[in-house]
Amino acid sequence: MRLKTLEMVGFKTFPEKTVIRFSPGITAIAGPNGSGKSNIVDAIRWVMGETAPTLLRTKSLEDVIFSGSEGHPPTSFAEVNLILENSDGIAPSGFESCAEIQVTRRAYRDGESEFFINRSPCRLKDINELFLDIGSGSRGYCIIEQAKVQQVVVSRPEDVKLLIEEAA
């Protein structure tokens, strides 16, 4: 499986629909401080099923919804679509015949979250299983940030062991 497109609407600093196409190889993302680069990574974590507010840099899950800015009113919901392409023929179980898989997460201000796979409603558990099958989970090793890198070197041996157990 490979990343094809990420679509965000109403998520953090992306009130209007924003589409990012991914290519094979290495893609760099650059831009000024506070412009929204790490918010893109948060969108990936969120659509992959992350539910802990602190791992999304929020106090509560509704804080991912665009809270408004000088020229733009707040939005009433946040939605992220992640479209994966079956480029290498190794699809998660149950999706062997799909050329693409679209995963959708939507959240409203009342705290309700909806999940969809290929536009049909599903549970959070289905999303977690899907990404585990692919080998990436929101807490796996596919998202690495600087604080985590510095942290691992000085952490206690039990914590390093836990990291290896997760990979087992």
């Binding site: 490979r2 600093t13 990012i20 290495i26 831009g31 929204g36 596919c142 940030e145 000085v154 041996p157």
Partner: protein, 151 residues
């Protein structure tokens, strides 16, 4: 099961001992299993030995050295359980120019047919990537993504 743990430990240790000298241009890095009667108490210790130095305590390592050790560790875990994609968010920020280049060639060597997305402020990383996206705020508080260059 502890069988599975041990075999994963061996694999991660294998990658770590291979990646460490590539990032530090020498030296040795390995993981040590701390056995304990009470299996819950046991743990894994990261043992970094940069070239020419006698490191007694990982806390004495510099910011840049800690980042390189941590990068070697995460890249080893990633290699054992490879996901189809990898996001790296400002992992290169404590590194000096030579180490940014070494980090970059490590990323290149593990990217293979996987997608790597690198968020960075380092010009060097931007130049070497295959694709470059810019994120700006033309209207305050609202992000806009633009495609900058492609190879």
């Amino acid at each position: 099961s502890s069988e599975r743990f041990l075999s994963t430990f061996e694999m991660v240790n294998g990658y770590f001992s291979e990646l460490f000298p590539k990032l530090f241009m020498g030296g040795k890095g390995f993981l040590r299993l701390i056995e304990n009667e009470d299996i819950l108490e046991s743990g894994v210790e990261i043992v970094p030995q940069p070239p020419g130095k006698r490191v007694k305590n990982v806390a004495a390592l510099s910011n840049g050295e800690k980042a390189l050790v941590g990068i070697a560790m995460f890249m080893s875990l990633f290699s054992v359980r490879p996901a189809p994609f990898l996001f790296l968010d400002e992992v290169d920020s404590p590194l000096d120019e030579k180490n940014v280049d070494r980090f970059y060639s490590l990323v290149r060597s593990i990217s293979g047919d996987r997608q790597v997305i690198l968020i960075t402020h380092k010009k060097r990383s931007m130049e070497l990537a295959d694709y470059l996206y810019g994120v700006t705020m033309e209207k305050p508080g609202v992000s806009k993504v633009v495609t900058m260059t492609t190879r």
